[in-house]
């Protein structure tokens, strides 16, 4: 709680011309603020000196800067130990609500704009008064060692990158030898200029460097049974590969498993029983393994496994014929010597590399096909030409030839070989030609029409399946389960989906790299490994300093639980998008602040309102809502409350204002950490204050979600539907609460969204609770 708040009003950038500054000062004074100052150049060293003087001489410990949008950072206006609240008079008031002097309603309009500015002062003052100083979470000891899961090219590179940065790591490999799939190649796709030719496998060089490093502990034939606790202090239990362990991470019940046969939810006891059955022989997820190794962060580089078609799959491609093989099987044959036909051991003279499985139906490729399958087909075509330089013929039959970026040079280089024949076309049929080989029929070729080829061997470009598709691999002993939650969305790849956040997973301190991330070449995997390693080290640094990781990297605050009033409803533990919350037997949540991303989704979820941040709480925002002056009897002065997500919606508002776009002056905007943090209590507060409508502006959700906290806007949508229903039971129209999705680049739609909703509210008329 700030004891003494000072209010500083910026009068530059046209603010003084558009607003009655004296009245603003009066409003602040009326709130009991003794120190209210204006400055035409508040964000300059002189302005900062003025504020500093008050802090030093007057004992000001809360500062309200009313002027430029809080999204602009002025480092000279950061004062240690002082709560600084910034409210935007420029973007949110004057720029976005210009009143032309020759407007016939200029006076009335000016009045609206003035009231808007006054409300923002009131809201900022109450926030500054109620905010508490933030104390960063400091873990006792932060382990600086990395756990790297997977000893292939990605894992080896990650461990080496960490070592070069001065960090130790444990490198775990399931197989008896390091190297992974990269050791099984005859040759490989280039990892650097000039990209035009195959190169010898590079993996042995990485293995040698890892073995020579004193910072890397290698554990082969080993798997991770569980990773418990939190980043900076992960407790890692290992086990022999392929064995079971009591420390295997337990799996929670799926939504389906929580139901009985008739579809009703099982009782808590029955669920517990079912859970115990499911995880028989496994220790509880909160139990600590005394023999666990401690690591600070995890790189998940467990890579891929080949897609092996099932029996009877791809019947038109004669899968099952011994001479129809996958690209991985072809690699194995090539690694062992000259390429021979599996059916009779005859030297192979011609190969059809079938890239797509769609046949005559469509141009679909094989599942998990990618840039890599295209490059591998070219690479393997070259193997045949190496074995049979005189008369070897390699046909690459594709629907899509993907050779992105520099790999275009690889394509060019391979294309120069006169024995490699490429064409787009639909491979409609592969069949035995009766003389030991195969006939391949290709329709709609670039050559013109439908052709037929006689070959010794057909190679199917089946892709790389991420190991995370069928297996949790990282095996977190977390409340929400041992795997990543959104694998279904990405076909088993543990990708973060937000293009801005590569390497991130939905588990803080655990970073994905390499083929588990997406199908990629070794060059890309090595780059990916370096990136993920740096993210992991960054995470350790963040935990050390006590602030959040991406995207609220600067945020030292973290949620605080008032456990006395917790009803163990488990909403927070289940809804946390990052699995930061564990719980005990009874269901009381346990926060792991270093896993937390500070989105506030738990705060929005809590029906008891016991989860709060120091400068962002149910009470603070509720008080800001109540600070809005709502005229009782003026139908022209309806009030609209707008919760705007700080990540995309608020910047979009800023941009709209900067671009000179305008919207209704009746709206009052409150920036929120994430729409997931909006508690329904605030909606009720707004309605009981007589505010006529509440609009939530948040990120897009769904399969292509843009929410920085993955699920916030989606959860919010659901919660608002529920609250609207309960409002309706009180006689308040459900339409008064609305959620709108806005992307950061859709600032041009802001006026339409706000004004459109305002029109709907005008249509409904004033809030029936107004004046009570």
């Amino acid at each position: 709680m700030s004891k003494k708040v000072g209010v500083y009003i910026y009068t530059g950038d046209g603010i003084a011309e558009a607003l009655d500054i004296d009245k603003l000062v009066e409003v602040a004074t009326g709130l009991g603020i003794e120190i209210v100052r204006t400055h035409p150049d508040l964000y300059s060293p002189e302005g900062a000196a003025m504020v500093k003087q008050d802090i030093d001489n007057e004992g000001v410990d809360g500062v309200v800067l009313a002027g430029i949008s809080p999204r602009y950072e002025f480092k000279i206006l950061n004062f240690p130990g002082v709560m600084v609240e910034k409210t935007s008079l420029r973007e949110m008031v004057t720029w976005s609500h210009p009143v032309s002097a020759d407007d016939e309603n200029a006076e009335a309009k000016k009045e609206h704009v003035q009231e808007l500015a006054e409300d923002y002062i009131r809201m900022a003052v109450i926030k500054a008064k109620k905010s508490n100083p933030v104390e960063p979470f400091k873990a006792e000891e932060i382990n600086q060692r990395l756990l790297v899961i997977g000893g292939g090219v990605t894992g080896l590179t990650a461990a080496l990158e960490a070592a070069e940065a001065g960090y130790e790591s444990i490198l775990v490999e399931r197989e008896p030898e390091l190297g992974g799939w990269a050791t099984k190649n005859r040759k490989q796709v280039p990892v650097g200029p000039d990209y035009s030719e195959l190169i010898d496998p590079i993996v042995q060089g990485l293995i040698d460097r890892v073995n020579a490093s004193d910072k890397i502990t290698v554990k082969t034939s080993t798997e991770v049974a569980r990773v418990g606790n939190a980043p900076g202090d992960f407790r890692v239990s290992f086990k022999n590969a392929g064995t079971k362990s009591e420390w295997d991470a337990p799996f929670p019940l799926t939504e389906k498993e929580k139901l009985d046969e008739s579809g009703n939810e099982l009782s808590a006891e029955d669920q517990k029983k079912k859970y115990d059955e499911k995880n028989e022989g496994r220790r509880g997820y909160m139990e600590e393994d005394p023999n666990a190794e401690i690591c600070g962060a995890v790189i998940l580089a467990s890579g891929w496994k080949p897609y092996v078609p099932e029996e009877g799959e791809f019947p038109h491609l004669a899968w099952g014929n011994p001479n129809v093989i996958t690209n991985c099987q072809f690699e194995e044959i090539a690694k062992n010597g000259k390429i021979v036909r599996p059916s009779d051991g005859k030297e192979v003279k011609s190969v059809a590399f079938v890239q797509s499985a769609g046949g005559s139906k469509d141009d679909a490729d094989f599942p998990y096909a990618s840039v890599v399958t295209s490059l591998v087909a070219l690479k393997q075509a070259k193997y045949l030409r190496e074995d049979q330089p005189e008369d070897g013929k390699a046909y690459v039959l594709y629907e899509h030839m993907r050779t992105s970026g520099q790999y275009e040079y690889f394509y060019q280089g391979l294309q120069n070989d006169p024995g490699i024949f490429l064409t787009k076309g639909d491979v409609t049929e592969v069949k035995d030609n009766g003389s030991g080989g195969l006939t391949v029929n290709v329709d709609n070729t670039l050559i013109g029409g439908d052709i037929s080829l006689d070959v010794d061997l057909a190679v199917l470009a089946t892709g790389m399946v991420p190991t995370t598709r069928d297996d949790a691999v990282v095996n977190m002993a977390y409340r929400q389960g041992p795997g990543f939650r959104d694998l279904d969305l990405f076909g088993g790849y543990c990708d973060s989906n937000f293009i801005c956040f590569p390497y991130e997973t939905r588990r803080t301190g655990i970073y994905a790299a390499g083929a588990v991330h997406r199908a990629m070449t070794m060059e890309e995997a090595m780059e990916d490994a370096a990136g993920a390693t740096l993210k992991a080290l960054q995470c350790l640094k963040a935990i050390d300093e006590g602030h959040s990781v991406h995207p609220r990297t600067w945020d030292f605050d973290y949620p605080d639980f008032y456990f006395q009033r917790c009803t163990q409803c488990k909403r927070c533990t289940e809804e946390c998008p990052f699995g930061a919350l564990d719980d005990d037997e009874k269901g009381t949540p346990k926060l792991n602040p270093s896993r937390c991303r500070r989105c506030g989704t738990c705060m929005g979820a809590c029906p008891e309102r016991i989860i709060n941040f120091k400068d962002y709480s149910i009470d603070i925002v509720g008080s800001m809502i109540k600070a809005i002056e709502v005229p009782d009897d003026d139908e022209d002065k309806l009030r609209l409350l707008i919760f705007a997500c700080e990540n995309d919606a608020y910047p979009a508002l800023d941009m709209a204002a900067r671009k000179g776009l305008s919207w209704s002056p009746l709206g009052r905007i409150i920036p929120v950490r994430c729409l997931g943090s909006v508690n329904v209590a605030w909606i009720k507060d707004a309605m009981s204050s007589g505010i006529d409508g509440a609009l939530l502006l948040g990120c897009k959700f769904g399969d292509d979600y843009q929410c920085h906290f993955v699920k916030g806007s989606e959860l919010s949508e659901r919660r608002m539907q529920n609250v609207a229903e309960s409002l309706a039971s009180l006689g308040i129209e459900a339409e008064r609460v609305k959620m709108a999705q806005v992307a950061i680049d859709e600032y041009d739609q802001i006026p339409e969204i706000i004004n459109g909703f305002m029109d709907e509210i005008v249509e409904l008329g004033p809030n029936p609770f107004k004046g009570f």
């Binding site: 294309q415 006169p418 024995g419 709609n444 670039l446 013109g448 439908d450 052709i451």
Partner: protein, 417 residues
């Protein structure tokens, strides 16, 4: 089900194209920029995109059945705009060179005629043959050998009868070889265009009357005016030079025929009527001959300059075959003009050797017709005629019930892109 084409790439064919100047063929990735920028390519059968892939895939029979290769005048637009530097213009040139060799018989002669040494050897051999004939003739004419006495008069050295004996036999051979090649070419491109085949397996041909009037004459007109060649924007100058050379050949051909009739037929029948050569300088035929000679030299020099410049610019690539033809034609023109000037100057010891050189060059040029790049005269001319004929057959306008197509390469219901 439509008949499937069994594809069996011929690696030797690919290598052949690469060696003949199309070494960039494999760079093509089928974007079809070339077919779009080509000023001559048609919507019905665009080129050279498809030819690039056929060549990559070593589909020799498909390429040889493709008349479009001959509709290209190698302006170099495709090469200039190709994003992969696959140089389609060069590849088509290489394909044409290989096609000429494909149709040429005997192959041994084709090999000789396609190397600079072979051509020089042929010139020397021809000169030797001329000397032998002249020696034999001198035994009959009682003139001194190798330098006849008195003012320089070439028919003292060799009269029309022995020259005809030599050249008409070369001509007969060349015509035989050329016709054989052209007939095979006609049959191949008819098949390639999907024209119907008779029960005997032969490609259809029109009756001689309509053939000449409806097809040969319009094609000839187009060739004589260079209407199509002029559309090749990049090389307007080239079409001018080429036009000069073509017309000079026509003039020289006519002049030669007139002289042959006068000297060989009338001169022998009426020895004293004044038909003997040389003609006086103001004789209209002589004037035409001199104009033809100068046009030939100027035209071929223009072509030479253009080729040097365009090669330096990178628009086209020049192969040995290109230079052989240019220098051979140049040698024919210059040696012919020199022989005339030296004759007028009456320098006997220079005149007769130059005359022999000229005859050697002419004989070599004659002989090279079906074997070297010179054969483009045959195949491009044939392609021009065939294009018109095929269009009529496909439109059902050719008569004799050929409206229904028998498809060989183009399959029913599938477009060739």
């Amino acid at each position: 089900m439509a008949e499937r084409n069994q594809v069996q790439p011929d690696l030797e064919f690919v290598k052949g194209v690469m060696e003949a100047g199309g070494d960039t063929v494999n760079r093509c990735y089928q974007c079809a920029t070339c077919s779009i920028v080509c000023p001559l390519s048609t919507d019905e059968s665009p080129f050279p995109r498809k030819e690039m892939l056929w060549a990559q895939w070593g589909l020799g029979s498909k390429v040889s059945g493709d008349a479009d290769v001959w509709l290209c005048h190698n302006c170099g637009d495709c090469t200039k705009y190709c994003p992969r530097d696959a140089r389609p213009g060069d590849v088509l040139s290489a394909i044409r060179i290989n096609a000429i060799r494909h149709y040429a018989q005997p192959k041994a002669l084709a090999n000789i005629m396609n190397s600079a040494g072979g051509v020089i050897g042929t010139v020397i051999t021809s000169m030797f043959a001329v000397l032998v004939v002249a020696f034999l003739w001198s035994l009959y004419s009682k003139e001194a050998f190798p330098i006849p006495e008195g003012t320089v008069v070439y028919h003292k050295f060799l009269t029309v009868v022995p020259i005809d004996a030599l050249f008409l036999s070369i001509a007969a051979f060349v015509i035989y070889v050329s016709m054989k090649g052209v007939i095979q070419f006609w049959s191949d491109i008819s098949k390639g265009a999907g024209l119907p085949v008779s029960f005997t397996g032969k490609a259809p041909t029109p009756a001689i009357g309509p053939f000449l009037i409806k097809y040969v004459w319009p094609a000839t007109k187009e060739i004589l005016t260079h209407e199509r060649f002029k559309k090749c924007g990049e090389v307007a100058e080239r079409s001018t030079g080429h036009l000069w050379v073509l017309w000079s050949f026509i003039i020289l051909f006519i002049v030669t025929i007139i002289v042959m009739i006068q000297a060989d037929v009338l001169g022998i029948l009426f020895p004293d009527a004044g038909f003997e050569t040389p003609l006086v300088q103001y004789h209209p035929v002589k004037i035409a001959a001199n104009i033809g000679a100068i046009m030939l030299i100027v035209g071929i020099w223009m072509l030479r300059n253009m080729r040097i410049r365009k090669t330096a610019e990178g628009t086209i690539t020049s192969s040995t075959q290109d230079w052989i033809l240019i220098w051979l034609i140049f040698a024919v023109g210059v040696s012919g003009l020199a022989a005339e000037i030296i004759r007028l100057a009456d320098v006997a010891y220079l005149a007769y050797p130059v005359y022999v050189l000229h005859l050697g060059c002419v004989a070599t040029l004659f002989l090279s017709l079906p074997y070297t790049k010179f054969a483009h005269l045959l195949y491009r001319g044939t392609a021009y005629v065939h294009e018109r004929w095929a269009r009529d057959v496909k439109a059902g306008k050719a008569g004799f019930g050929l409206e229904k197509m028998v498809t060989a390469w183009q399959y029913e219901g599938k477009d060739i892109h």
